[in-house]
């Protein structure tokens, strides 16, 4: 049963996301009357034909923001519990960088994201890069017990992949370089219905798979030895964690660029805010929390006339909040 405080969080995030999506669709440089927006969703013909495209684009980017934010937050939550470190997340551990390197290989090599073959190549390369970094991290975690040292190793992977990407720039054309730099700023816009289907289906599937991690994550708060004695199959769990977090981070990075901050800050907030210690409650709340922040960030991006990159906004909104929350809650909490 969900306790009252967690139920309130579900309602706040759910309503917040809904309101933000509606706002994101209604407001923008082109003002479209609400009645016409409803007509467009009903499939009716409206006065200005261009409005349909505008509404579709606003709706799509809202959905992308919701899924991207949710996916990064859930990936971060799983990694924080597995590595038992509140600073873990796909960005900090170098997983996003691994995905970026995979994307760089393909994009700087001349493939286009708009072609189906190029898109699948980019998804595959991004996932391979993300999972390769996770495997490397898990391999060295056998020799490094300190999770802080492991985070430093993750940061080093990030620098290393950035250096490799710089080398790739040298042989890339101006157009490919420009495409990659723009991609790197992060954005939730530009997906067509076909891409949106792949993006959202992939994320929904992986989030559903993450429900197989509920029991392992509940046990892992006591450490791997304890969770093993509680009946958790550690090797299987490790495999699932690599696969789910690696591909979640990769899908989002491939489509939206390397989005920072959400994957580390939201899981930390949610773990502190929820009353329940059961990940059957924490995972969905982490998804909704991440989705809420992402859609808020996208609204700010659009209010700025699309001049601000998403990454800048997520950091501007979130970093001060998190510092404030940590300072306040650490007065009575141990580090969690």
């Amino acid at each position: 049963m969900i306790v009252k405080r967690d139920a309130i969080l579900f309602i706040i995030f759910g309503m917040g996301i809904l309101l933000a999506v509606v706002m994101n669709i209604l407001y923008g440089a082109v003002k479209i009357p609400a009645a016409d927006v409803i007509s467009i969703f009903k499939g009716e013909v409206v006065e200005n034909a261009a409005w349909s495209y505008i509404i579709e684009s606003r709706f799509f980017r809202s959905i992308v923001a919701v899924f991207a934010g949710g996916a990064l937050s859930v990936a971060g939550l799983i990694l924080q519990v597995y590595f038992r470190n509140p600073l873990a997340g796909p960005g900090v551990l170098g997983i996003t960088s691994g995905a970026s390197l995979g994307v760089a290989f393909v994009v700087l090599g001349g493939a286009s994201m708009s072609s189906v073959l190029g898109l699948f190549g980019i998804i595959g390369a991004g996932s391979a890069g993300a999972i390769a970094v996770l495997f490397l991290l898990l391999f060295i975690s056998r020799f490094i017990k300190s999770s802080v040292t492991l985070l430093v190793a993750g940061l080093m992977f990030g620098y290393f992949t950035a250096a490799l990407i710089n080398i790739l720039y040298l042989s890339a054309s101006m157009a490919d370089t420009r495409a990659f730099v723009i991609w790197g700023l992060g954005s939730f816009e530009g997906l067509n219905s076909h891409e949106l289907t792949i993006f959202s289906t992939g994320i929904i599937f992986l989030i559903l798979c993450s429900f197989f991690l509920i029991k392992p994550l509940n046990g892992l708060v006591l450490g791997q030895d304890y969770s093993n004695s509680l009946g958790i199959h550690i090797k299987r769990t490790k495999f699932l964690i690599i696969l789910i977090t690696g591909v979640l981070a990769a899908i989002v990075t491939v489509y939206c660029g390397p989005i920072g901050f959400i994957g580390i800050a939201i899981p930390q907030l949610i773990r502190r805010m929820t009353k329940s210690k059961n990940h059957s409650v924490i995972i969905p709340l982490a998804f909704l929390g991440g989705a809420f922040l992402a859609i808020l960030a996208d609204i700010v991006v659009r209010l700025s006339g699309n001049t601000l990159p998403v990454n800048t906004v997520t950091a501007l909104i979130g970093a001060p909040i998190i510092i404030w929350v940590i300072m306040n809650m650490n007065k009575r909490n141990a580090e969690i």
């Binding site: 046990g219 009946g231 958790i232 502190r272 141990a334 969690i336």
Partner: protein, 237 residues
């Protein structure tokens, strides 16, 4: 219940000691030995780590290595030297984790699970601090909660790896008293490793002593301390 036949305990560094023939049914059993003798390795072997032993270890007449993790979790529970928790759980919420082997995919805590946790809180007198945040508890209280969690797991065998290593004299005695009470009230088998010889005669039924490549089975409580000192070649103080 727990049987060893021609067991050789080993690590990557080579063999540690052997157990010819040993059967443990119930009671409070202390495991002693010098640093590096292989106490923790024996505990890991009992948990089914096949790379750490040769020979036959059986639990309820089934080879220990043949159990799936989820089945073994209903037969053996473990308490580590120092509990570490990642989260802001209360003592009760840590106790709840003991029900994990019995829960479904969504890890739903049933009414039965709650009754079991309440029973253990009452049995071990944990109510004074079970609703406080686990990380705020003293080392002794944390260890009591972890033993409670093992009890909530409802296994016949409980293994404890140096549970009193970080405890002061008072907490150590409370811990020994608690383990004795559990054995007397429930008939479980509790096997714990330790370096302390003072409490053994008062509380333990058996002492297993690792020395000179063998596992000695000391059965006379009155001479536990003398036998241990003699085996180590020490003059008793």
């Amino acid at each position: 219940m727990l049987k060893f036949k021609n067991v050789h305990i080993k690590t990557d560094g080579g063999p540690l000691f052997q157990i010819q023939d040993l059967e443990l049914k119930d009671g409070l059993v202390a495991l002693m030995g010098r640093n590096g003798a292989g106490k923790s390795t024996l505990i890991k072997s009992i948990l089914g780590n096949k790379s750490l032993f040769e020979g036959t270890i059986t639990l309820d007449n089934k080879n220990i290595g043949d159990f799936a993790a989820k089945d073994l979790a209903k037969l053996i529970s473990v308490v580590a030297t120092k509990p570490t928790l990642f989260g802001n759980h209360s003592g009760r919420e840590v106790l709840n984790l003991g029900r994990l082997p019995y829960q479904n995919l969504m890890a739903k805590l049933t009414a039965e699970d709650k009754v079991k946790v309440d029973e253990i809180i009452a049995l071990l007198n944990l109510g004074k601090f079970s609703d406080r945040r686990f990380t705020d508890l003293s080392d002794g209280e944390k260890q009591m909660i972890m033993i409670g969690r093992a009890m909530v797991q409802d296994t016949q065998l409980i293994l404890l790896d140096e549970p009193s290593a970080f405890l002061d004299l008072v907490n150590r005695h409370q811990l020994m008293k608690l383990m004795r009470e559990i054995v007397d009230k429930t008939g479980k088998l509790i096997l714990f490793s330790t370096h302390q010889t003072d409490d053994l005669e008062k509380y333990c039924d058996t002492v297993l002593l690792i020395e000179k490549g063998q596992l000695l089975n000391l059965k006379n409580p009155a001479t536990f301390k003398a036998d241990i000192y003699k085996s180590f070649g020490l003059d008793e103080v």
